[in-house]
Symmetry: C2
Subunit: 193 residues, 2 copies
C-alpha cells in the first residue's frame, strides 16, 4: 500500500486543462472506453496495489536497456541522474493506481495536462530541478503505449482472476493508457491536437 | 486477393521521409519490434488476405457510429461523402496488407510520411479532391491505435492457428500500428516530434 505522497506529486492543485468535457467524451468514445472499463480498472487497482514496485522494475529495466530512452533521465553529456529517476519513479507508481482509481473529472484532466507539460520544453526537469535533456519527443510518448500496455498483462493475471476477467482488465488498461497519452500530447501542439 | 491498385495509392513514388534510419531503429526498439514480429506479420498477411473487406466493414462501422469521426469524411456542413469514403477504403485495405508484408525500408518510411501528410492541413482531401474538413486532429490519430488493434484479434484467429500464434500475430500487429501512427504524426510537428 502506497501511503506517502510522492515528491512533486501535485494532483488536485494544478492549472486547469484546456481540454473540454466534450473533447474528453469524444476521445473516450474513440478508444471505446465505457463504464465497464471503469469497473475493470477498479479491480485492476486492487490487483496491482502490492505489485507497483514490480511493475516499475520491469519498466525501468526496459528504459535502462535502451540508451536512447535513458538519455531523457541523463545529463546532456550522458550521466544518468539517479535522483531524478527515483523521484519520477514515485510519481510513476502513483500514476498506475491513479489510472485505475481516479474518476475522469476536471482534476484528473488537469493533472493529465500537467503530466504532459512535464515532458515538454515548458516544464521538463523543473519539478525535480534535474539537469537533464529539455524535452521528450512526441514520438516516444506514443511509442510508450506499447510496452506500458503489453508488460502489464502478467501482473493483472497474478491474483487468480479468470482469463476473461484478466482480459477485461487488460483491455481497460490499454484504453486508459492510450487516452492518457493523448491528453499528455495536448501541450505538444496547440493548433493540431 | 486484392489485385487492383487502389485509387490514389502512390507507394514507391512519394517524396522522401525526413525520418532517419537511426530514428526508425530507435522507434522499433521502443515498441519492441523485432525480426520475430516481421515473421508473425508475414503469417498475418496470409491470414488476413481474404478477410480485408470484413475488417474494413468493422472499422467503417465504428467510424459510421461515431459522428465526431465520420465528420472527417463529410463536408463541413455534415453531408457524408460516400465517394471519398470509398476511395479511402481501397487504400485502407491495401494498408492492412502493406503493414503485414512491406519491409521497413526507405519506400515504406516515405509512404508512411505521405499517409501522415494526407491527414493534415497540407494534404488532406487533395488525393481524392474531396470537399471535406481540412485536417484530422492529432488526438484521433493516436486514439485510432486502440480500435485498430483490438478489433483485429478475431480475424487473426479465424484460420485455425493456435492461441500462441494468434497472440504473436496480434502483438506484432499492435506494435506495427503504433509504429506507423508515430510516423504519421511526423508532419504534425516539425519541432517536437
Amino acid at each position: 500500500m502506497i501511503t506517502q505522497v510522492p515528491a512533486g506529486y501535485t494532483y488536485g492543485s494544478t492549472a486547469p486543462s484546456p481540454v473540454s468535457a466534450e473533447e474528453l467524451a469524444q476521445l473516450e468514445a474513440s478508444v471505446l472506453f465505457t463504464a465497464d472499463d471503469r469497473e475493470a480498472l477498479r479491480t485492476a487497482g486492487d490487483v496491482l496495489e502490492d505489485q507497483v514496485e514490480d511493475v516499475l522494475d520491469v519498466w525501468y529495466g526496459f528504459v535502462a536497456a535502451n540508451p536512447h530512452l535513458v538519455a531523457y533521465f541523463s545529463t546532456p553529456d550522458g550521466t544518468v541522474l539517479n535522483d531524478y529517476l527515483g523521484r519520477v519513479r514515485g510519481r510513476f507508481g502513483q500514476w498506475i493506481l491513479d489510472t485505475c482509481r481516479r474518476p475522469h473529472d476536471r482534476e484528473w484532466l488537469s493533472y493529465a495536462h500537467e503530466i504532459g507539460l512535464r515532458h515538454t520544453f515548458e516544464k521538463k526537469n523543473k519539478t525535480d530541478d534535474a539537469p537533464s535533456i529539455s524535452h521528450i519527443p512526441l514520438r516516444y510518448m506514443v511509442a510508450f503505449i506499447y510496452p506500458i500496455t503489453a508488460t502489464m498483462r502478467p501482473f493483472l493475471a497474478k491474483k487468480g482472476h479468470g482469463e476473461e476477467d484478466v482480459e477485461r482488465m487488460h483491455q481497460a488498461w490499454f484504453k486508459a493508457v492510450t487516452l492518457q497519452v493523448i491528453l499528455w500530447l495536448r501541450p505538444y501542439s496547440s493548433d493540431r491536437w
